[in-house]
């Protein structure tokens, strides 16, 4: 009886760890946006940095 009672099905628990990690980095991401970093990133990305690719 005990063994059959233990055989009841249980649901897998949703892990909180990944959601905490993702939420933390979302906060960091939003702080970066609020400080205007995307504009700076875009300015850098549309220019060829010659020394970065080994030229000059």
């Amino acid at each position: 009886m005990m063994a059959s009672a233990k055989k009841r099905k249980k649901w897998h628990k949703v892990k909180k760890g990944p959601f905490i990690v993702i939420s933390s980095f979302l906060v960091i991401w939003f702080i970066g946006i609020a400080s205007g970093e995307p504009v700076r990133v875009l300015e850098q990305a549309v220019r060829v940095c010659l020394s970065c690719i080994g030229i000059g």
Binding site: K10, R40, Q44, A45, S51, C52, I55, G56
Partner: protein, 298 residues
């Protein structure tokens, strides 16, 4: 599953390098999509690149941090680190296995018939040293007399940048050839070494030197999508060892930092359904079935 992965690699390769007007403009893409990050290692000075490189941008922001602060701009790389962290928390090194163009190139090179060798395990810590020293510490703290740093990893190491940007740019803009010197020779040597190594060993750059892979590896325990081991089903037969392109022994270390979730062990090796894919703790697939029941016997 392996053919699906190959198609995903091809599609993402084209999505992150989708600017095919470069032979006519002879320049890189300069549109607004470049505010979005490429999940894998993909140089944003590549003429076809449509997105920015996480590692390149982080170095640029850190290298110019002092000048930015003097100008009242608080740029610490939070947007870039946040983007990388969100991707890491979702997928971890699955990105290396499924969408990174340079990883895909290494996989293709490894298909060339030749004797195959392993990569010594201690070398895998090299990528963490490169991330810490060449991507963070040197760009942030090694300044010139004007207070500006340099992009040390891109400048002295990155073989992806040499292959995807350096070589194409000297063909597109012949005037640049006059500037080639020891810096370029150094980068060509590093590129040739890694490409040659990729023929005889599986993904050597990913395993030993990739700083983006090192960053994603930090999420191996707490990523949303991951492969898991059901120890009740595992017979420790070792069938998952030889199929792993990263040299991971999945039955011994299921949360290994180098697992790129390519799923070869799950779909090609394990016959006991001991390896399964889970999302946020919920099993979703095994080697033989796409959807696994979400309940288990207690």
């Amino acid at each position: 599953m392996e053919s699906v992965r190959k198609w995903v690699q091809v599609v993402f390769g084209f999505l992150t390098n989708g600017y095919w007007a470069f032979p006519f403009t002879r320049n890189i893409y300069q549109g607004p999509l470049k505010v979005i990050c490429a999940p894998g290692l993909n140089c944003y000075s590549c003429p076809a690149a449509t997105t920015y490189c996480l590692i390149g941008s982080l170095q640029q922001l850190l290298a110019n941090m002092r000048l930015a602060l003097e100008g009242g701009q608080y740029y610490f790389g939070l947007y870039v680190v946040g983007s990388a962290g969100i991707l890491g928390g979702l997928f971890g090194r699955m990105i290396c296995g499924w969408v990174c163009p340079f990883g895909f190139i290494q996989e293709l090179l490894n298909k060339i018939p030749s004797p195959k060798f392993g990569v010594p395990r201690p070398l895998r810590y090299g990528k963490f040293i490169i991330l810490l020293v060449f991507v963070i510490i040197l760009p942030a703290f090694a300044m010139d007399e004007f207070g500006a740093g340099s992009t040390w990893f891109c400048k002295y190491i990155c073989p992806a940048g040499t292959l995807e940007a350096g070589l194409p740019m000297i063909f597109l803009q012949p005037g640049l050839r006059a500037n080639l010197g020891y810096l370029f020779i150094n980068k060509i040597v590093i590129l040739v070494l890694f490409l040659g190594w990729s023929v005889v060993a599986s993904r050597p750059f990913c395993r030993t030197a990739c700083p983006l892979g090192a960053f994603y590896a930090l999420f191996s325990r707490h990523k949303l999508v991951k492969l898991r081991l059901n120890r009740d089903n595992c017979t420790s037969c070792g069938a998952c060892h030889p199929v792993c392109p990263m040299g991971v022994k999945f039955d011994e270390s299921p949360e290994d930092q180098d697992c790129i979730s390519c799923m070869k062990c799950m779909t090609k090796a394990c016959r006991f359904e001991a390896i399964y894919l889970e999302i946020g703790g919920m099993p979703v697939a095994t080697g033989s079935s796409l959807v696994r029941p979400v309940s288990v016997e207690e």
